[in-house]
């Protein structure tokens, strides 16, 4: 169990919990967060400070709402960090969609020169604007920054700059589009995926994508792995293991 040392509101439905305790991790790795008597879920590590790490929580279902209700001094269960994180060769462009920015925020902090492109549906869903004043913002509705998708800003950046690696996290259709753009332009790509997890340690097989396990082989996969993963950007599994489209999976996750 770890102590929640501070809670910071990021948007109407999203907050960051700072957790006491030093943890060596690679950006992109995740921890399993346990609320006794409720459930246990994976969360990306979204920040680091001496003796502390952070997770960022969007209120979606019962678990995330209860987690977001934690206050300074509360204790929650934590195991990890698990999985493989980002290992980009610079120069780097980071692309974040929606709350996917949580997983890449520590990467941007460790690579201050990296270009960060952050997209969301609307202005109030853009997280961490104070934290990353230099980030390129875009929104679907044009309420902040460029009106359009992060892939459009990525394309412009790739036209303009020499880029060795693109790192991305966010909705999977966006990740698929980023990956395909990188393939066309022969740029290395690393993306952080999300799947419903049970064990978190590579034995139950529930979080598979292709023949890879998101919990153990990922959650960050590079271009060579993504090329072999037919499910990437297309299908995912519900809690009972039924295969559904990535869109249906996203809807299921949000309730």
């Amino acid at each position: 169990m770890v102590t929640v040392s501070a809670v910071r509101k990021e948007s109407a439905d999203t907050c960051t919990l700072w957790l006491e305790g030093a943890l060596r991790f690679t950006p992109g790795q995740f921890v399993m967060i346990w609320l006794p008597g409720v459930d246990e879920k994976p969360y990306s590590i979204s920040g680091e400070a001496p003796g502390r790490i952070a997770i960022t929580v969007r209120r979606r279902g019962r678990f995330s709402s209860l987690l977001a209700d934690r206050r300074s001094g509360d204790r929650i269960g934590l195991r990890g960090p698990y999985g493989k994180g980002f290992s980009p060769e610079p120069p780097v462009v980071i692309v974040a969609g929606g709350c996917g920015i949580a997983a890449v925020a520590p990467l941007k902090e460790r690579l201050p020169e990296a270009v960060l492109i952050a997209g969301a549906r609307t202005a109030e869903e853009i997280l961490f604007r104070d934290r990353f004043p230099d980030m390129l913002v875009c929104t679907d509705d044009g309420t902040a920054g460029y009106r359009g998708f992060p892939t459009e800003l990525l394309e412009r950046t790739l036209d303009r700059d020499t880029v060795k690696t693109v790192c991305a996290c966010g909705p999977e259709p966006m990740l698929r589009a980023v990956f395909e753009m990188c393939e066309r332009r022969k740029v290395e790509c690393q993306v952080g995926l999300e799947r419903y997890m049970k064990c978190g340690i590579g034995v139950c097989g529930h979080c598979s994508c292709g023949d890879r396990l998101v919990c153990r082989d990922g959650p960050v996969f590079d271009s060579s792995a993504l090329r072999t993963m037919a499910d990437f950007g297309r299908t995912a599994r519900l809690k009972d293991g039924r295969v559904v489209s990535i869109e249906e999976y996203a809807t299921w996750c949000s309730v």
Partner: protein, 304 residues
């Protein structure tokens, strides 16, 4: 060069190592990966008639002597499984189905459909310790229930039937004999032990959401070995010895106790699927050093 190939109920195996049910057996792609990593055969995650979400998390935890799980048989149900496993041609080793039911009739319904797919055998875990309605929590491990369920499945399929038994039951050998008499072709020994429990002393609650879970890994290995030893003396059908095996020496010990094939489960946590290739290599090295030509020569060695 020592020969690891063997036959199990007429099924040709390149080596005796079998992926145990419930580990990575959710998809064709994962089965293929485990096969390519060196398994001689692979078993799918158990399939029930209807989809099951399983227990809430935490469902799998580790401790100093292995693992405890209470996954609760999450699976996409018969229809989902038929879709996933109808074509197994890209899995280069025999694939064993695992099916569950709440009684003989339900087992038979699942077996009838699953039996039409290209599986090499059908395993019946009558021994899960953490899912109400199934396994030991439903009394499926008694000799009477074992006989009834095995018979019901036997009437639906000509495929080899493996009955997976619990290390907990008092009447272990009687249950295995009942399975044999009812037409089972092999015994998988054993399922997880217990259930056991872990408590988070700060939260003052069990760690597993279900409260208890089946114990596997090193804690289970000596018990599994003794079960295989006893069952070998009780029945004539072959045994898949399963429980805590993570090295070549462990696998050879299982063979000597009486197993024809060796199940691998929790070792995947330590090494990933590569555990299979490593264990097979270690078996070969030991056999070379001790002038054992064929793996079959080791089966039941301790009884001779």
């Amino acid at each position: 060069m020592p020969d690891l190939s063997t036959r199990l109920c007429g099924i040709e195996l390149a080596n005796p190592l079998v992926l145990a049910s419930g580990i990575l057996g959710t998809t064709r792609a994962l089965l293929r990966r485990v096969a390519l990593a060196g398994a001689g055969a692979v078993t799918i995650k158990s399939v029930s008639l209807e989809p099951r979400g399983g227990h809430p998390n935490p469902t799998v935890i580790t401790f100093e002597a292995g693992m405890m799980n209470a996954v609760g048989y999450s699976n996409p149900g018969l229809e989902g499984a038929l879709e996933e496993f109808s074509d197994l041609s890209d899995v280069p080793v025999p694939v064993i189905a695992s099916i569950i039911g709440r009684g003989p009739e339900e087992f038979a319904r699942v077996a009838e459909r699953i039996g039409k797919l290209p599986f090499a055998a059908i395993e019946l875990p009558l021994s899960c310790p953490h899912t109400p309605g199934y396994g030991t929590l439903a009394g499926q491990g008694t000799p009477e229930a074992t006989r009834a369920i095995t018979r019901a499945v036997r009437s639906t399929t000509d495929k080899p039937i493996f009955v997976k038994v619990s290390p907990n039951i008092q009447a272990l050998c009687e249950a295995c004999r009942a399975a044999e008499e009812a037409g089972a072709d092999a015994i998988t020994a054993v399922n997880t032990l217990g259930p056991g429990m872990a408590i988070n002393i700060e939260a003052r609650r069990p760690v597993l959401a279900f409260g208890v879970g089946g114990v596997s890994g090193p804690a289970l290995r000596p018990i599994a070995l003794r079960c295989v030893y006893d069952i070998y003396r009780a029945v004539r059908i072959p045994i898949i010895g399963t429980g805590g095996v993570s090295t070549g020496a462990h696998a050879i010990e299982m063979l000597m106790a009486g197993a024809t094939a060796v199940g691998i489960g929790t070792a995947v946590y330590l090494d990933g699927p590569e555990a299979f290739g490593r264990i097979a290599r270690e078996m070969k090295e030991w056999m070379s050093q001790h002038n054992v030509a064929r793996v079959g020569d080791l089966v039941g060695a301790v009884h001779r």
